[in-house]
Amino acid sequence: MTGNVIVIGGGTAGVEAAGQLARSGIGVTVIEKESTIGGHVRNWHHLFPDRRSSSEVIDYLRKQLKHDNITLVTGELISGFDKKGGSFRLKSSSGKEFHGDAVLIASGFDLFRSERKEEYGYGIYDNVITSADLESMFRDKSILLRNGREPEKIGFVHCVGSRDEKSGNLYCSKLCCITAVKQAIGLKELIPGSKVFCFYMDMRMGGALYEEMYREAQEKYGISFIRGKVSEVSENIEGKLVTKVEDTLAGRPLRIEMDLLVLMAGMEMSKDGEAIDISGKLNRGVNRFFAPADYHFGSNISNIKGVFYAGACTAPMNITETISHARGAVSDVLNYLTNKH
């Protein structure tokens, strides 16, 4: 089989698909906006549910990319494409052009910018951080407050920018609940004397080994789970974060002071993903992600023949799902190229 496929995005989805396509004899050009591949995984320290180091995923992706059929182009951001006859022309923001027989969009997601939930005080109070900030602290193996002291009471706020009409995101980001559980355990290991709380609306433990990890967080690490949406956070004179929540199961409002508050930022359609389709030809869902042709049978297929999707540009996904989704995309791309010629 012959053909050339342009893969937009060098994260987990894009690289996995590129590797599989290359081994099927297809020429692949992977276009990555950053200087290196890996996407969001590069910013994570370890991964649920087995707490594998994220560097193992990066190593795996690098191996996938090692193939003569693959050309990696970094530092180029795609902003628009058109189709003429059976081939595609893609333009990058620096003015370069790329040509291919098929396009696989693997543009991923953006993390919700937590400062948009102003009532939680990110960017206002020193010790309100995001889940991504905490990962980089884990990497440094040092969890410290802004004043240099170790936190004793730490809270996780679930659903920041997810399931929230006020943020314009009605959907569940799916990964934040288990990430909070994983990070809560990580914190207890680094600071065994600390008290850790998770404020949740619903614990959505739908993945393999998620529920087991939730149990472990309760049983082995003594993490407290309080069911209620945090309404607001303020800083008192001692620099503690006064957190207001309704303890919905106790049926009363609850107030608790925290040293450190971690906001579990959700996933959104990426701005750079939107830019690929500057003229708005591709269908989008109410969640603003790219809408596949069919949620059951065509989750990798777009409304334009020859344009395919892989990974979190279509919906929030974990790494396992992203890899499976990318493999599915490869099958659809190969079908398309076979029947085209």
């Binding site: 209620g228 949406k229 309404s231 309704e246 919905t248 409002p253």
Partner: protein
């Protein structure tokens, strides 16, 4: 007739079939966002009234949905209609209008404990 001092205690169960659902239906018809509540308690956490008195919009909402109208019928008076709960609600429930409509409904169906 002998009176032994015993009586039947009312069961604690929510007798869903026997309960009056007219209030819930009335509110849902006039303010459809009433149906969207997921009982997260954001409204109750921010509520000034709830911080000082026994008042929880989350509880009121769930009880009305079950047809348990007695407590909400009395509690609903306490709301000052400040609307902070609207700012918090992740489901976009028009909470203030729910309260106003609930008051109407309690009056209409003669449940108001006022």
């Amino acid at each position: 007739m002998n009176r032994f001092g015993y009586s039947l205690s009312k069961a604690r169960v929510i007798d869903y079939d026997a309960n009056n659902h007219a209030v819930a239906e009335y509110i849902a018809e006039k303010e459809p966002s009433f149906r969207l509540c997921i009982a997260c308690g954001g409204c109750a956490a921010t509520c000034t009234t709830g911080n000082f008195t026994e008042f929880s919009l989350r509880e009121i909402n769930i009880l009305i949905h079950r047809g348990e109208n007695r407590k909400p019928g009395s509690d609903i008076r306490k709301c000052m209609l400040c609307g902070k709960c609207i700012l918090v609600c992740p489901r976009g429930v028009n909470t203030r209008n729910v309260v106003i409509t609930a008051r109407e409904a309690f009056k209409k169906f003669g449940i108001n404990a006022l």
